[in-house]
């Protein structure tokens, strides 16, 4: 089982949209390597023919009638927004300037 390099940690962190500083990378990479080595222990159990379990209870899809119910007002929904305008969430630019 390959373990986790510093570069891989930086790559995975960006997949998870976390911009780690160099100091954080130094600190976390070693710890993560140790943790990955530990959790890789699940591979020691022979379980080829065992079905995976995603959930503790037998799940069935739950639906409700498609009817309007009371919900948050726009003001309530926007009350915690970092920025809003015209009853909408205001976000940083999503496209590159060209």
């Amino acid at each position: 089982m390959s373990t986790l390099s510093r570069d891989e940690v930086a790559h995975v962190a960006m997949l998870a949209r976390i911009q780690l500083t160099d100091a954080e990378l130094d600190h976390l990479a070693g710890q993560l390597d140790q943790i990955v080595e530990f959790v890789a222990g699940v591979g020691e159990i022979a379980a080829d023919d065992i079905p995976p379990m995603s959930h503790p209870l037998p799940l069935t899809n739950v639906t409700r009638p498609d009817e309007v119910r009371p919900s948050l007002t726009a003001d309530q929904a926007l009350a915690n927004a970092p920025a809003s305008e015209l009853q909408r969430f205001e976000v940083p630019r999503i496209l590159d300037e060209d």
Partner: protein, 506 residues
């Protein structure tokens, strides 16, 4: 006059019913206690004196009018900060949610309010419930009332400390891998994790959706059952909520009978690796159950030893997905990357998540993202899910031989603050005995079994029951509690040192 804060919730409820005290008096007594000791304990992130007293006045009026009241109407409670409370800040112990005031109540909070239970405030926790000590809280750790240099456990250390320090008779916790039971064990209090789906998850800030379960933190088994009954039961807002009545937990706690019950000791989560004093109190407790008519059998759950590894794949995987919603766009922290003019949404997202999340949250998100990534999925997450099946099968086989399973709750007594903060693997090992229940979805309860001889700190006894048979763990817990009270002549918390009260200024 008796100190109201020393009473159990059931005792407070009795005095409220007899109109010997009012809910306003009970609530004010706990607010005063918080003001006096929480500077040292730091169980609370937010105290809502005004809201709690208003709810208390309403509860008193309800009772005076002769309206229908519940078993706990007027009894104040503290709520873990991972549970959404409308009008009260809810941070989950994270900078990411500093100052966030939810626009809605969690279902369990709706039920507390409907029951007329004043909410004293929100309790401290490890950030997003990731940790076993509260040291991963962005707002500083809580302190164990037994020894302020030690942790009250985690993630729900604020709730356990509040209850142990008599700042609240009741608290709400959440348990993903032991976050109700382990804090209870190290503070000499009671904590119960219901069957998965027994209490609605609607309005809980999700950590790992297939493992999370809310439940009671109290000082007696009966109090836990009473609170369980208030918050439990089907909720259409949570599609994984069990559509069946709450098991007869209060009745079982009152009956406290173990006659003829088969108690299974799980070989893999007791004995070796457990602190001698913890193990000794465990063995004595088992003997007390035998004295009361129970039969002991030894059971083996061989895959439990892989449970920790499976858990630390499943939890981070689910957490990495659940925490993706903290993207700095709709709510929560938003900061720009330094030195970038007109940053993109993606750059703002990555900078905000770096600034808003602490080390442990980053470790687990990165680990989860890695375990779910292409090329690794089968070896990690897929294999962990298979181990989960094997653990559930171990439980099923064990429950063929025994009605309930027992073990020490945590391998050691409370450890010192700072001792394991930068050693994640050492921290994770605390959950060895509590994790299997979450993986299989079965209920578990921890109650005090005494104090360890070597350090004088409390030890915990865990009872696990089959799914939806929560009443069995309450019955066994209450029987053991009664036997221990008889033996000690009083509750274990009477052995805790007095906290120095600060002068109260009203």
């Amino acid at each position: 006059m008796t100190d109201i804060t020393r009473l159990t919730a059931a005792e407070i409820a009795d005095r409220l019913a007899a109109q010997e005290i009012s809910s306003v008096e009970a609530t004010q007594a706990h607010l005063d206690r918080i003001a006096a000791v929480d500077g040292d304990v730091h169980a609370f992130l937010h105290v809502d004196a005004e809201g709690a007293l208003a709810a208390a006045r309403e509860a008193d009026e309800r009772r005076a009018r002769g309206d229908h009241v519940g078993a706990l109407t007027g009894v104040p409670i503290a709520v873990k900060d991972v549970v959404a409370t409308q009008g009260q800040p809810t941070t989950a112990g994270s900078r990411m949610l500093e100052g966030w005031v939810p626009p809605y109540d969690a279902t369990l909070v709706t039920r507390l309010r409907a029951a007329g239970m004043p909410i004293l405030g929100k309790t401290n926790m490890d950030e997003f419930a990731m940790g076993s000590s509260t040291e991963h809280s962005a707002y500083g750790p809580s302190h164990n009332p037994w020894d302020l240099e030690r942790t009250p456990g985690g993630s729900g250390g604020g709730s356990s400390a509040a209850v142990a320090a008599f700042e609240a008779p009741l608290a709400i916790g959440t348990d993903t891998g032991g976050s109700i039971r382990q804090p209870a064990a190290v503070t000499g209090t009671v904590g119960a994790k219901p069957t998965y789906g027994g209490v609605s998850r609607y309005g809980l800030i999700a950590l790992a959706s297939s493992l999370d379960q809310a439940g009671p933190c109290t000082r007696s088994v009966l109090d836990a059952a009473l609170l369980h009954e208030v918050i439990g039961g089907h909720d259409p807002m949570d599609s994984t909520s069990i559509e069946a009545p709450v098991p007869p937990v209060v009745e079982a706690a009152r009956r406290a009978d173990v006659t003829g019950m088969r108690i299974g000791i799980v070989k893999e989560i007791s004995g070796e690796g457990f602190q001698p004093g913890v193990q000794r109190r465990f063995e004595e407790s088992v003997q007390l159950l035998v004295d009361r008519g129970a039969e002991v059998v030894e059971v083996s759950c061989p895959t439990f030893s892989q449970g920790l590894a499976a858990y630390y794949l499943i939890l981070p995987s689910e957490a990495s997905s659940n925490l993706a919603k903290f993207d700095a766009m709709r709510y929560g922290l938003r900061v720009g990357p330094q030195g970038v003019e007109s940053p993109s949404a993606e750059q703002v997202m990555a900078a905000s998540r770096d600034a808003g999340f602490g080390d442990e949250v980053k470790r687990r998100i990165i680990l989860g993202t890695y375990a779910l990534s292409s090329g690794y999925y089968d070896a990690y997450y897929g294999q962990a899910q298979k181990v989960r099946t094997l653990i559930a099968r171990d439980f099923a086989a064990a429950f063929e031989k025994a009605d309930v399973l027992v073990s020490p709750t945590a391998p050691t007594t409370a450890f010192r603050l700072g001792e394991k903060i930068d050693d994640p693997m050492a921290m994770y090992l605390n959950d060895i005995a509590t994790i299997p229940a979450n993986l299989a979805g079965v209920p578990g309860l921890s109650l005090p079994s005494g104090v360890a001889d070597e350090d004088g700190l409390p030890t915990g006894f865990q009872v696990l029951a089959p799914a939806t048979q929560d009443h069995l763990m309450y019955g066994v817990g209450a029987a053991l509690e009664a036997a221990l009270l008889e033996k000690w002549g009083g509750p274990v918390l009477a052995k805790a040192p007095e906290l120095t009260a600060k002068e109260t200024v009203r």
